[in-house]
Each structure stands twice: as C-alpha cells, then as structure tokens.
Symmetry: C2
Subunit: 223 residues, 2 copies
C-alpha cells in the first residue's frame, strides 16, 4: 500500500503537483491536505476540493484560522494591510509573508503522514518564491527534512519537484499532464475573476507567456 | 522590549520552565502558549492558566483538536487505546506517542514569536523523555532550531534548559524558585487526584524521591 500526502492550496503550483505525484509515484491512496489559516478568501480551497474529487483523493482541511491573530501584519490575513500590486519579486511583496507558514503546514502534514503511513509528503514550493519567502528555499526544505527524520524516526520523503524550476515550467508540466489550470486560483484578492494586477496574478500571466502556452484564466484587467 | 514565549502545558516541567525563564531572561513581556490537541482531559490547561495569571503572562490557547483524527492510535488522544501503567521508560509507553507533536507545537510557537517580536521560545522537553519520544532528543532540538533560522531569517533562541537534566533536577529547580508544584498536573488520566500508577505519575513520584524533596501531590494510589 503506497500512500502519498500532498499539500494542495488550489493554486496552479499545488494543483499541478497533485497530478505530478499521481504520475510519478502511482500511489494506491492519495491524500490532499489544505489549510485555512485565516486568508482573506477561500476560492483556492474550492479548487482543491474539486481536484480531490477528480482524483479520488481524501481531502483533510486543517483549520488554523484561530491562529490568524498570530499572523497580523500580513496582507494575506490582515484586512488592514493592503494587498500589494505589481511584480511578485519586489520588496512590497514582503507584505504577503505569513511568518513560518510552510514550517507549520509541513509539520502538520508530517504528523498526518506518520498516522496514515504515507511514504511521501509533497509540497509545491517553487524557485520563483525564493527571493521573498525564506521558507520556500532549498536550504529550508533540506533542513526541514533532516529535522523530521529525527522527529519521526521515519524515511518519509519530502517531495518538492518545483524547487529548482520556474513557474513557466509548472505551466508546461500541467499541459503535459492534461491539467486544466482554469480550475485553479492564484489571485490574492477574492473577486469573481483573477484581478490581473496583484503579485500572484502578474506571476501567473508571465508563467503562461514564458511557457508559450495559452492562458486559460479570465482576468479582470492586465497590469 | 525583551519578550519570551513559553510552551506551557501545565505539567511540572513546563510550569517550572516558566518561572525559570522569568528568572533567567527577566523579560518585559512573558507569553504562554498552550495546546489543545485532543488530549483526553484538560486538567493541565487549568494549571497553565493559573500560572499565567500569577506571572502576568498572556496565554494563547492553540486549538488543534480538529487534528485529533490524525493522532489516532495514541493513548493520549484515542479513547480506544488504554493508558499504559508502569514505568515510564518501558516499551509500552510508546503508546503515548503523539506523532510529530513537538515539531507542530514549536513551528506554531515560532510563528507567534516572529509576530510578537519575541527573542526566546522556551520548551520543557527533558532528558528523561529521550528513550520513548524521538522529538524530545537534543539532535531534534538542534535540527529544529537550524531549520527555523532558515525559515524565519531570525535569531530567535530555542531555550530547552531541561534537555540534559533529569526530572528530579526540575523538582529541585522548582524548589529553588519557590514554585508550588501541587499546582501542576502530570497524570495521563483525568481523575480528581493523580492516579499514581500511569507512566507520568510513576515518573513524577520518582522525581521527588530522587530529589529528596517532599512531594506535594495527592495520589489515589501508589504503584
């Protein structure tokens, strides 16, 4: 019984990751874990659920919204902080840091993996995030895996295939796997369509452009 | 403004830790963080609250009880698993392992510490736990601190003063600091008094005996 646990937010990276894990590991059981950490909107989570159903995966939603007071000062969780517009790789994007988010999510995912007997924990961190988010860097991922080998006395593999690729490569991989990325959500705002102006929208638009793939996303505007 | 965050369960180790942190770091602001991870009873938490009030600390209770399904198979959270009796350092005590508990608690504590601007995160892990719990060992603590330096780009200190001492030394330190350990709870069961027979009760009794200190605890029976 081969089992894998994917952290799936419903964004294009993690949605593609789920299909990649299915293709690479061919697990008998696929688990999705999604997090509510008090983000402004839940649109991503609807897409996570959609793909869990499509893949026959069990989805566990971990509610950390009670911790939102801890995350004050991040534009993702605090309504008094404005969502920055412009390019992702800019100083202003530091406002979107939720402190220690990936360590929290991964630690909970590992607890579940031990309990489920999963051999793989997969996360969609990718190279384009390195500049802004320290907990998306390879050094962090390596240190985390080392820590968990000691904490759980297990050989659970931490699978982060996007670590050394660009977002355009993820768009290409999605295309290869036949994933419909219209069924994913990136925008930091929670409108009817992607705003087209916030950091992740700009990054998403760029990813399809660089990959040379038609962008299936509906945008309100383009920056 | 010097600020410290202590993980306080309400057991004798973490209660003593809080007073030790106050004495050693003399913080302007002391924060307690307690966890509800679906344990069978909440007696410890009452003592954590009691000492927070006594020390003028703010206590944040983090509710992870929604994760209890993850922790199936541990006697601490699963009613279908019997709480083992006998000496703490026995194979049977493995039934009390909650997978990855310390990594989860510490990761959340670090998120809070970043947000609060705390310089110290303190945890009461101690040497007597090493045999049974991999996430109470010095190698784990070192690896965790390394991981967090990368994840948070901070120099928050992970303070675990009981790492290389025995529980009897904690009893001695409590005595030195004038901490009344009758106001703490160890027993895995949730009776009116400590049962005196489960692993932590046996360990608690032994700690006072070895320290040569009068045990202020009321026990239902002695193993």
């Amino acid at each position: 019984m081969r089992s894998a646990l994917c952290i799936v937010s419903g964004g294009m990276d993690s949605v593609t990751l789920a299909y990649d894990v299915r293709a690479v590991f061919r697990p008998d059981a696929l688990h999705f874990m999604s997090f509510n950490y008090g983000q402004r909107h839940k649109k991503e989570l609807d897409y996570a659920t959609h793909h869990a159903n499509k893949l026959g995966a069990r989805l566990d939603l971990v509610d950390l919204s009670g911790l939102a007071y801890l995350l004050k000062g991040s534009a993702l969780t605090d309504d008094s902080v404005e969502v920055p517009e412009g390019h992702y790789a800019e100083e202003s994007m530091r406002a979107t840091i939720v402190p220690n988010r990936n360590a929290m999510m991964l630690a909970i995912a590992y607890a579940a993996a031990v309990s489920l007997g999963a051999e793989v924990v997969a996360a969609g961190f990718h190279a384009g995030d390195h500049w802004v988010y320290p907990d998306c860097r390879p050094e962090f991922v390596d240190a985390f895996a080392t820590m968990e080998r000691l904490a759980t006395e297990s050989d659970i593999r931490l699978y982060t295939p996007w670590m050394n690729v660009q977002k355009s490569d993820i768009a290409l991989r999605a295309s290869e796997l036949g994933v419909n990325l219209a069924e994913s959500w990136s925008c930091y705002k929670g409108g009817d369509a992607h705003c087209g102006r916030c950091g992740t929208c700009v990054e998403r638009i760029e990813a399809f452009q660089v990959a040379g793939i038609t962008d299936p996303t509906a945008y309100e505007a383009r920056a």
